[in-house]
């Protein structure tokens, strides 16, 4: 599988289609994102993230691609390694007008193994097009139903106990491929008091949840990153369900479209459900 990806990327580099390839490299057992510019670099260290001790390492490739595009001096085109979740994130970033000219990103897709798809209960473990791997069945995550089965008091007790462990490391926000704001509400003292651990709850986490509405593409990176093992995804999944019910909007889909929460002006077709 890895050889197919390497050959494909080498072809892109050799033809001059891309100025570099944003992928992963394994440097003495440590997997990190890396911008490959030469074919030899691919031969010596390119990785799909597999490690012996920790399973497959994932990074928010879409977010890294966004930073690359925003911060490079020229308007070159770059190749980016994408799994199903990375593609959803790129799609969503496009819909939020973050990527500028989307043609500057050439996706190099890989389909995930069944093991990885199961581990993250991934709803689409493959991008639309991929150069390596095989399509495996989408997986489901039932954590939302589990919370909905509780009554109001038990839900509050459940979430409060979870969020009580938060050490406010901002890891969930930092890893999130669709968290792209330059100024973050979570750091505004006037809105959420700073300097407390755990942070002011439920304000801190509900604020983040609201900001994930019409954005979260359910990659599970936040939950995986959280040192306090808080099931963040469950909260954002519920938010996504609400957006799907109210606005018929599904995040991360390929093609034209706009998130209903990124429309200024005329009514996106929603009436006063909150009245």
């Amino acid at each position: 599988m890895i050889e197919q990806v390497k050959e494909h990327v080498k072809g892109l580099l050799a033809s001059g289609k891309i100025a570099g390839f944003l992928g992963l490299r394994n440097d003495a057992g440590v997997v990190t994102p890396f911008l490959f510019k030469q074919e030899e670099q691919l031969d010596s260290s390119f990785s799909l993230g597999e490690t012996e001790s920790q399973g497959t390492m994932r990074y928010p490739m879409a977010k890294l691609a966004l930073h690359l595009i925003q911060n490079c001096d020229d308007d070159s085109t770059y190749g980016v390694l994408v799994r199903g979740c990375d593609e959803r994130a790129l799609n969503e970033l496009k819909r939020w007008n973050q990527l500028g000219n989307p043609d500057r990103i050439v996706q190099v897709g890989v389909a995930c193994t069944l093991g990885l798809a199961e581990e993250h209960e991934c709803r689409k473990p493959f991008p639309d097009e991929f150069v390596a791997g095989e399509k495996v069945d989408p997986q489901t995550n039932n954590s939302v139903q589990q919370v909905l089965a509780k009554d109001l008091d038990s839900r509050l007790a459940f979430w409060s106990a979870e969020f009580d462990r938060c050490i406010k490391c901002y890891g969930c926000r930092n890893i999130c491929p669709v968290c792209f704001c330059n100024v973050c509400t979570l750091e505004e003292d006037a809105l959420i008091k700073t300097g407390n651990i755990p942070p002011e709850n439920p304000m801190f986490h509900l604020t983040r949840a609201v900001h994930m509405a019409g954005r979260c593409i359910d990659c599970n990176l936040c939950t995986e990153a959280c040192p306090a093992e808080i099931p963040l995804r469950t909260l954002y999944k519920r938010v996504a369900e609400i957006i799907a019910d109210e606005f018929s909007y599904v995040t991360g889909a390929t093609g034209e479209g706009k998130s209903p929460l990124n429309i200024l002006g005329s009514d996106p077709g929603h009436t006063a459900a909150n009245d």
């Binding site: 939302v144 909905l148 509780k150 008091d153 839900r155 409060s160 439920p202 938010v239 009245d275």
Partner: protein, 62 residues
């Protein structure tokens, strides 16, 4: 928003979102008075620290 706080375990009736223009003084007074009456009826918030701490310790123990 109501559905979100309900998922979190807060009675959605505790939240009201209404658009009131600055030219609508009497409506503003009406909206606020009605909501205050409603909240009085529902009673104190489950988010008050003492109530919440008890719920959390029960959850952690279970």
């Amino acid at each position: 928003m109501k559905k979100l706080i309900e998922f979190y375990g807060i009675d959605p009736e505790r939240l009201s979102l209404k658009w009131v223009s600055s030219a609508e003084g009497p409506r503003f007074a009406k909206v606020i008075t009605e909501f205050v009456d409603k909240i009085r009826e529902i009673g104190p918030s489950p988010l008050r620290p003492k109530v919440l701490m008890e719920a959390v310790s029960v959850e952690k123990a279970s």
